[in-house]
Symmetry: C2
Subunit: 291 residues, 2 copies
């Protein structure tokens, strides 16, 4: 790491710091200070529990409470105790609040659009932003279980299929693989996890129950912008934990030698290479792990 590298990073910091006001003028465009606006938008994003809001925005409990009271007084949100645990409170948008959030969204979209529109290579700019966002936000990447039909899961799977078709010599056609298996990747037989960074799914992995005495790990994929951050390891650890919770004792997976980083990961994570256990046309490496 040279002095020049550091200068480059610091130039980025300054550019972003200088523009952050501008980036967030949507928060300031509606006559409301930043604090309440951020809370309102967090609620609009579906963050409901007061504690979650606090953690997400890193607010002091007193401050959070006051901001919520303010929004309530404006008629933008309502709060009620959590039925599961009445110590917690859940915040919800009122219709007025939903309109207000929509107005913020529209401002923010317009702004994002303006930045993209004036750039000569929007795709390159977006790819760069993805990379930076993943690098900076790595601590805030959350793993969530979803159904395979969830649009975020589908987005990951489509990206995964596209990548396979580019990287495998013979291409890839999902219908030839032992697949569409949504039901087998849902509770109680299996699971499907996605990694979510600020609302965007940037990785996935599936656990597919079978009746052959083992379950399979399928569809491990990480967005290119987030590779090398240890996310695959986190997803694997979490899906193993889910498998254990479902009473599964033996896991198998198959992969292709065109994906050497995946093979290296499995070896590091304690998987043992075994012989072919299916007749799927694509894989040429097979692994097993007892858990």
């Amino acid at each position: 790491m040279t002095r020049d590298d550091i200068a480059r990073l610091r130039r980025f910091n300054r550019a972003v710091t200088a523009e952050v006001g501008a980036l967030d003028t949507s928060f300031l465009g509606r006559g409301r200070p930043l604090g309440p606006a951020r809370v309102l938008n967090a609620i609009g994003q579906g963050i409901a529990e007061v504690g979650e809001i606090r953690a997400y925005l890193r607010l002091d409990s007193g401050l959070a409470s006051r901001l919520l009271r303010g929004l309530e007084a404006e008629g933008l949100i309502e709060t009620s105790p959590d039925p599961q645990d009445a110590r917690r409170r859940i915040a919800r948008l009122t219709p007025t609040g939903a309109e207000e959030v929509a107005a913020y969204e529209a401002l923010s979209d317009a702004q994002a659009g303006a930045i993209l529109a004036r750039h000569p290579h929007p795709e390159a700019l977006l790819a760069a932003m993805d990379l930076v966002a993943s690098a900076l936000g790595r601590d805030r990447i959350a793993l969530t279980e979803v159904r395979v039909g969830d649009p975020r899961a589908q987005a990951c799977l489509n990206a995964y299929y596209t990548e396979l078709s580019q990287r495998l010599k013979q291409g890839f056609d999902v219908s030839l693989s032992a697949d569409p298996e949504a039901a087998a990747m849902e509770a109680p037989r299996g699971a499907f996890l996605i990694a979510v960074s600020d609302g965007r799914a940037i990785g996935c992995v599936g656990l597919k129950g079978t009746d052959k005495g083992y379950a399979e790990i399928k569809r491990l994929w990480i967005d290119p912008s987030a590779r090398g951050l240890g996310l695959a390891t986190r997803l694997m650890a979490e899906i193993e934990a889910r498998a254990r919770a479902l009473g599964i004792a033996r896991l198998r997976l198959d992969t292709n030698s065109a994906l050497p980083e995946a093979i290296a990961l499995y070896r590091r994570a304690g998987w043992t290479e075994i012989g072919r256990f299916n007749d799927d046309p694509y894989p040429d490496h097979f692994f097993e792990k007892r858990i």
Copy 2:
């Protein structure tokens, strides 16, 4: 521009907003609020006039004034009237202030280093950051005249030579070109301009005086991260203005067909293609413009 593009940009915004506090903890690491810390560092960067500081940090005049008084009271800066215009005031670091700035720099470097160190591909991350910083900071790119020997000018020239050696079929060796000509690119015969974005030089152009009845434009280069933002056009317009101010009426330049974007720019900017006017081995296109 799709909804997904906008979602990507907004994820970037959120990631950066969330981290900006962290990115700037160096500003908070020395028991001083953000306002004074930013002013102190601006002065440390060489921004001396009160008005410039105000513009750079977008501060109200009253607030700026108060922050300056605070730093003065701490013994970190001194101010004195500008000898050219006694209405203006110039701020300067005291030795204590310089130490303090150095401490901020060290914190900031350490932090930048930590971000880079934990990333698997620091060069890719830096390239992405450059691209984003140029896209966001395009309005803050300043053109400055420097001597060719200035390290920022040298950095640009080295990048330019490296790029030429990659793009020209026959490679490029600066010593074969009609060059080292520093003196001819300095006042009163010529000029050398760099484009500076937050302290980093990201583009250059030279005006080389000759005694052949014309001056030459040389060494037009833009950092890859800043291409397409209209910076080359700005640099050309500014160097032409300098030429005019030096009483030069006719400009010439040469270029190579491996640089089609440059050729297109010259055509757009009103240059006329002419026949070869030197025996430099690299160029194969020659242009002239009366100004």
